[in-house]
Every structure is written in structure tokens, then in C-alpha cells.
Symmetry: C2
Subunit: 504 residues, 2 copies
């Protein structure tokens, strides 16, 4: 949902000289040759996938998208691939047994965000190649970077290894969902299916492809992410006969209760008078403070992102409580939030209109930090409102999940560091993204697996018009689709090596 | 603004047998003959006026509307008529000295509410005659009932008296505004002009034409109205650099203040935790309790409007605090309110969206009762917010005025009662409308004049599509435009009589 916003603020750049020392992948040149040979087919595969948008919020192409995902897995060499039904959009589960000692999990999403073609400079389903001045040639289309581009590069990587006559260095377990853009409402059901859970339990961890390469060629490692829960509070004629069923003349407020005031009163109890500290009963019970290492990474990151630039980008002059920059970054990483995304009630045009609204809605979202959980947060919210008598305030949880975190010395993270170091790629470490992705589904009980992002490619415009993914890069330090594909090839070999050395 | 909603709830019907005893207007048949003769011209005059909509909110036809109003006054026999500039839309001031002992004030509005032609069954500016099943023939157009129809009937009445060779029984002072639909923002400036104020100060009171006849032919007398002030509270990047200038990614709420929470915190202080009792410092200081007579009128009204029907009409099952019906009606008449008309912030579409809004707005309105004033209410609101440190909450007063009230034994009201009794027209008395009109401009200092509504005609759809005004009535107890015109003729004579008897 918001995974592509991980790197603002809290990063630490460990600089390396740009030595052209490549990864130690066996027969790397041969595999690279195959990748280059396949490039036309890879770009066409991405274009074809963009042409079939699955949009869960619109119930669009959900069956077709799942079947297409299953076919993509089989085409890439997965031996087994099946559709896993859920209460919502189905998931896909696939395995590839390469006879290796190590098994790696991969998480895909086959859905995309909604889009309005009128806002695009190129038709969002056509995947046209466009010039991106100063960067090269990019494919433009909905899903290009989030997530069809990086995922297509990953599939191209395993195809290329196999096409060059080698076995994969790791076995693969793929789980894909079609509801990522609606907060992964039913994805836990996919992972709860016994054969899926069993297959995943044999992996050393699960990674999600990403496109985290910066314009200067540097990479980023993220050690976790906050959880997010989106929900709505509604009060009105639909929740109690104290309130009118529709907007009525405002003079009646003298004798009829207002759902808007009731919503304001309920909201008011959720944060302290400072306007930001969550005030839900017991909210901080399981909040873990930052470690010294996390603080160190935050302080390093602060040096790389000048405060004035970050403030200008965000359009603010001050941080909460006028705190210094590093404190504000520690907040960003460490504090759970209760945010109002939007308010909807009564007359919303210019000026005023004399109505007593029949309905009031607040759209909210929690961000959770370790060791809070989704169930804990939801039940604390409900208990808090019930205790205060807000039985006429309807709570609708539209989706969400808890936080995730992965140890810096886990195999998945060590492999990333090693690959970047071998390849001479400068990288930074984000201790925890303030944005969210559903890594907790692997990271939490019962699987308790490391879960991280990996990918060395570049794109932008996720959730926005003119989404793009770099195909041909004009800068040798930045990957186009061939480099993105080779990064996955290299990663699989390094993961295998690191897993074996850890097993020694 | 909301004057046409006066009669729901608090009315008392003093029933009379429907004796066809007409008012004691001299040469009444002769004047009636002239009214009937003029009817075609009167309907055409109304149609022409409807074709020229003045809409202050859209700055549409403001100069033209004022000039047209001036011309209408001169055409109707006013000897002097001039445009009075204001900081907004100009007013019109006109006088007609008939050499009478008594001078009567009249208030007109020449502006109309906005409209969307797509919602109308007949073009809103064409004033077509349409059948109204069970009622007769009506003219349909924006302004038909609010207020061009009743005002045209009044002008036709004074034309008919003069055309039949008689002098008017009273002298007239007309004041008109073109901003009634935007809460009479500058009308006080019209009345403050020395020659206007002096002319008004010689009147026995000011009345506003209305169309208050019910379908059963009964009439209504209203002894006052609540005041209304519309205002907006805004918080965001435009009011403080603590807040972002636009909507930004919601994860930033961990380090950046939310204008929405700030608005919620400010709103929360304005009403008590019961969700309806105003909690602004000193709010009830000048609130006068109901008199025994007002309570008596309310109790009489309750009998005429069955509670179940009123609840069904409003779409509610309960009154505030589950109070009994009569108590709820006493509240409606006696309690000042702080109402939220609407909320606007951040994402307002279906479901949620992970944004921290850059702006939050609440649209509110006060309803004021005697002896509260507009200035008092506005300064108490501002002092209340300032005392609590809400300097970043911007208050915009978009318009409003205080309450008005007129004694039941004033000449204007006695004349209405006498006319209804002479004519055998059943009528009810509303002690105070919970809706609002700017009568306080005459009613309050320095003029301190009685101010009331009068008119015996029928229409509907004010502020809504398909606004109409009855021209030909199929029920002899209900007035079409001739009856409406004759009611003004009769009223002027009864006012003159009552004023003279009061002077004796």
C-alpha cells in the first residue's frame, strides 16, 4: 500500500567507492547474455500484464488476474501453481523445487491502484515506452513500478538462470495476493492454508521485490515497517434514531441531536489535547522503545537528508512540539499514530448552508509499531468507545495489519549487504519505514520469518498518474530492466551462499 | 434566508367558522374590480422579474437587479426611489407620501437563491404557468414564492388602490436589499443611511410580504424569529506553518501536527459532552426564558401538529434527551444552538486514503434567541477560542444577524388578527420561528420597530427546484394572486384603522 515511501527521512548511507566489482554469480556473463536476449520478451510480458489491471476496490479482473498470475508462475518455471480462494479476491501459491539446500519465499501482488486515464499523459493500460529526460527510457502504465515491473524482472531472472541450463541456487515458494491495494484484507487466509503455511515454514524468509534504487545509483535496506489499520467511524440516522435519516433544516438542532457533534465527541477522546498523542486506553502498553542501534541509524540518516529540504518537500515549517530534526525522525520511526484521513458531513460546498446533517463520517488510520498487533489495536479501540458509551458510533475496519521487523543479521539482510558491497553499490539502512506493507503476515506468528524488500531498479508514480519503471538507463550506475533482472539473479546466489554459511 | 419554514411545530390554531365576512375596506368591490382587470399585467410583471435573477453569491445581476427594483417602486407609485450603495450589493430606498396619518415600512429582497436548471421540470427563469393538482394554477420559477410573488402582489395592491382613484390609507417607506440569500451581509448599511433611518423611524413598524397560507386556507402570525450567524472554522497550512500546505502521506503524522485534530479539539470546546448544549463562555448570559404566554402558544401548537407526523417528516425517532413533545417544542423556540452544517477535510471518497490533510474546515451556524446579539455572539466565540490558545483556528463570519421579536399587542400584529377575524380566516400564532430572517435590523437599536411578516397567499419550493406561487386557486378558501393582492389592500386599511385607534 505505501511501501514505496520507505526512504524519506530515516536512512543511513554507508558510502562505497563506485568500484565496478560485480557479484560472484557463477557463469554470470552467460546468464547476462540470456537476460539481454530475452529483453524484448520481458518488456512485452510486462506490457501484457499492465494491460490486465486487477483492482480489488472495483472488483475488476479479480478471477482473470489470479489465473494470469498462476500462468505467469508456471511460465517462469514454477512446477506447481494453484489459485487459493479467500473470502475476497483469490491468492496464488506456487513452488519451484530446484533440489537446493535453501528455500526462499517471495511475495507478489497482482493487483494495482485505481487510476483516472484523464490524468495521464500516456494511456495507463498501454505500457508505452517514454523518454525520461536525464534517466533514459521508461515504460509508463498503471502497475509499472508497483509492482508489475519489479515482479516481471524477478520472473525474468529465474527464467534466464534456467534457460542457460542451470538449476536455481534456491528453491522458491511464491505467494501472491490480489488485495494489496485494499490493505490485504484476506491475505492471511491464503497463508493460513495448511500446504501454503507448511511450504513457507521451510523458507529462510520472504522478500518482496522492490524498486528502491535512487537516482544516484544508491540502494536502501529497510529493517521493517509500521503496521497500518484503516477504519471509518460513522454516526447518523443509520446508527441511531436519535439522528435524522437525511440532512434536515438546521433550526431543528434545538430539539434533535447532531450526528456531527457526536462524532466530534467520540474523536476527541482518541487523542490527547496536544492533537497528536494517542489517548486510546492502554495504547502504549506494548510499544517498544527504539534500540541504540536504531537511534544510531536514524542519526546517520539525518545527516544525509538536510532538514530544510525535507521540510520544503513536506510543506511544513515545524515539527511536532518544535522538536529538533533528529527527535522528529525518532518520532517518525518509533511512535504509533492515530490519524484522521478525512471528514465527511453535511454541506461541503463553498460558504455555508443551513442544514443539520443526517450523517457524519471520519476516515482514520492507525500506524502501529512493534510489538503492537492489529487485533490488539482494534479491540482496544472498540473497548475504549464502548467504555465511554459511544454505542451509536459505528466502527468499520476496512483493512490493515500489524508492524513487521527483520533482524539486521538475518540471512535476507546479510545477503543484501553482501551483494551491495560486492557490487560496489552504496546503500543506506532504514531502521523502520513509517509507511506500511503486510510483511507481518510472514513476520508474525505462527511463521515468524524474516520479511524484507529487495530490488535494484528504479521507477516512480505509484498510486499517482504517469507511473513508470526504468527500462533503458542512461546512467551506468542505475539499473534498467536488464540490470534489475541481473540483481535478482545475483541476489539468489548470495542468499544461497549466506544461508549455507549460516548453516555451517 | 429561512423564513419560509416558520410554521413547523410551534403554532396555535385559533379556529373560526369560515364565515364569508369580508374586511371592511371602503369601496372594496371597486378595488377588487381593478385588481382583476390588472391581473394579466400583474402576472406578466412577476414573470418579467423572475427572468432577471439577482444572485449575490454569484455576483449576478446585482446592479441590474437594484435598478429594476427602483423602477418597480416608481411604477407602483412611489414618488422617490433611489439606489443605496453598500460594501456589497446595493439596496433600494423608496417613499410614498399619501398624506396619511400613519406611515408603514415594508422590507423587500430582490435577490433569489441559486438554482440548477437540470433539476427543474420547467425552465427556472421562464415563469411558466403549470397545473398544481388539487390547488389550481401556479407560476413556476426561481423567486416565485421567495419573494417576487408576494412582493409583486403587494405592488399590485397599491397600484390598484391608486388606479381606482383613492389615496393610500398609509404612507409607505420601502427598503429593499439584494443580499438576503447571503445572510444580509450589508443590509445594515442601507438602514444606517441617515435619510433611510429617519424615514423608517417615522413608521409604526416594518413588515415583510410572505406566502403563509396553508392548504386548508388558514393563516399564521409569527411573533419573532431566532437570529442566525453562519461562520467557518479553518485550520491548516494557510493558518500555521505547523501544518502541511497540502495533503501529504499520512505516515508523517508521527512528526507533523494534523489540522484535522486541531479542528476537532477546537470544536469540542464549543458544546458540552451531551452533544448539544452550547459551551462557549458566557453563552447563556442574555438568554431570556420563555414567558407563560409563549408556553401557552407552544402547548396549543403541539395539539395541532401530531408528534408522530412531525417525527416522520423529520425522519427521527426521538427528541434530545428523550424529552416529551411539548418540552422539545419549548426547546425549539427557546434554545440558542451551535450547529455544525458540514465538515470538509482530506480524503472524502469511498473507503480510506493514507493522507495527512493539509486543511480542515467546519461550517457552523449559531441560532440566537432574545436578548442575544450578533456582536455579542461573535465576540464571545472569538474570546472563547483565544482564551484556549486556538490562535491557529481561523474564524470567518460569512453573515448573520440577531433575533427579532414583536409584541402580540403591537399595531402590526393586532391588524393581522383583526383582518383574519373580519374575514373569517382561521389563524395560528407562532411565538417565535426557529428559522431566521433579518427583522432585527428594524427590530433592534436604534430603530426599535415592530417587524413582522404578512401575506395571505400560497407557494412552495423556496431554495429548491420547481419553486411555485399560486395564481389561480381551485379552493375558494385559498388565495390566488387576486386574493393575495386584495389581502394587502385590506391589510393597509386595517393597519391605518388600528394605528388610529391606538393613537386615540
Amino acid at each position: 500500500m505505501v511501501r514505496l515511501t520507505t526512504s524519506f527521512g530515516a536512512v543511513a548511507l554507508l558510502a562505497f567507492a563506485a568500484i565496478p566489482a560485480n557479484a560472484e554469480t557463477p557463469d554470470r556473463d552467460e546468464i547476462l547474455g540470456t537476460v539481454v536476449e530475452q529483453r524484448g520478451a520481458t518488456v512485452q510480458a510486462l506490457r501484457d500484464w499492465i494491460a490486465l489491471p486487477t483492482i480489488a476496490a472495483e472488483k475488476r479482473n479479480t478471477t482473470e488476474g489470479a489465473e494470469y498470475m498462476r500462468k505467469l508462475a508456471l511460465d517462469a518455471g514454477f512446477k506447481h501453481a494453484e489459485i487459493i480462494p479467500t473470502d475476497g479476491v483469490p491468492g496464488v501459491f506456487a513452488t519451484l523445487d530446484a533440489g537446493a539446500d535453501t528455500t526462499l519465499g517471495i511475495y507478489f501482488m497482482y493487483d494495482v491502484k485505481q487510476y483516472d486515464p484523464a490524468e495521464w499523459s500516456s494511456p495507463p493500460l498501454e505500457g508505452r515506452l517514454v523518454d525520461r529526460p536525464g534517466e533514459g527510457q521508461a515504460i509508463m502504465g498503471r502497475g509499472a513500478v508497483n509492482q508489475k515491473g519489479p515482479q516481471t524482472a524477478f520472473l525474468a531472472a529465474i527464467k534466464a538462470i534456467q534457460a542457460s541450463g542451470r538449476k536455481l541456487p534456491v528453491n522458491l515458494v511464491l505467494v501472491a495476493e490480489g488485495e494489496e491495494e485494499v490493505a490485504s484484507t484476506n491475505f492471511h487466509q491464503v497463508v493460513a492454508v495448511p500446504q501454503v503455511r507448511e511450504a513457507l515454514s521451510k523458507t529462510i524468509g520472504v522478500f518482496i521485490p522492490s524498486a528502491a534504487q535512487s537516482k544516484d545509483g544508491s540502494a536502501n535496506i529497510t529493517l521493517g515497517a509500521k503496521g497500518a489499520i484503516e477504519f471509518q467511524l460513522v454516526v447518523g440516522g443509520e446508527t441511531s434514531d436519535k439522528y435524522p435519516k437525511t440532512d434536515i433544516h438546521s433550526s431543528n438542532h434545538a430539539r434533535i441531536e447532531s450526528p456531527v457533534w457526536r462524532l466530534v465527541k467520540a474523536l476527541d477522546t482518541l487523542v490527547a489535547d496536544d492533537g497528536h498523542t494517542p489517548a486510546i486506553d492502554g495504547w502504549f502498553e506494548n510499544v517498544r522503545p527504539l534500540t541504540e542501534r536504531q537511534k544510531e541509524l536514524i542519526a546517520q540518516g539525518a545527516k544525509l537528508n538536510p532538514e530544510s529540504e525535507v521540510k520544503a518537500l513536506l510543506g511544513v515549517g515545524r515539527w511536532i512540539d518544535d522538536e529538533p530534526y533528529v527527535t522528529s525522525l525518532e518520532r517518525l520511526v518509533s511512535q504509533p499514530t492515530v490519524n484522521i484521513q478525512g471528514l465527511v458531513a453535511g454541506y461541503m460546498g463553498p460558504g455555508g448552508k443551513t442544514v443539520l446533517p443526517g450523517r457524519a463520517e471520519a476516515k482514520l488510520e492507525f500506524r502501529l509499531v512493534p510489538a503492537m498487533t492489529k487485533d490488539e489495536a482494534v479491540s482496544k479501540l472498540k473497548a475504549h468507545l464502548t467504555k465511554r458509551g459511544f454505542d451509536d458510533v459505528q466502527v468499520t475496519i476496512s483493512g490493515g495489519y500489524g508492524p513487521n521487523e527483520t533482524e539486521e543479521d538475518s540471512t535476507l539482510i546479510r545477503a543484501q549487504k553482501k551483494l551491495f558491497e560486492q557490487s560496489g553499490i552504496p546503500y543506506s539502512i532504514t531502521p523502520r519505514s513509517a509507511g506500511s506493507w503486510p510483511g507481518v503476515i510472514f513476520n508474525g506468528a505462527p511463521l515468524n520469518l524474516p520479511a524484507s524488500q529487495f530490488g535494484l531498479s528504479r521507477g516512480g508514480g505509484a498510486h499517482a498518474p504517469n507511473e513508470w519503471f526504468l527500462i533503458e538507463s542512461s546512467d551506468p550506475k542505475v539499473n534498467g530492466i536488464d540490470g534489475a533482472t541481473m540483481a535478482y539473479v545475483d541476489y539468489l546466489y548470495v542468499v544461497a551462499e549466506e544461508a549455507e554459511s549460516a548453516a555451517d
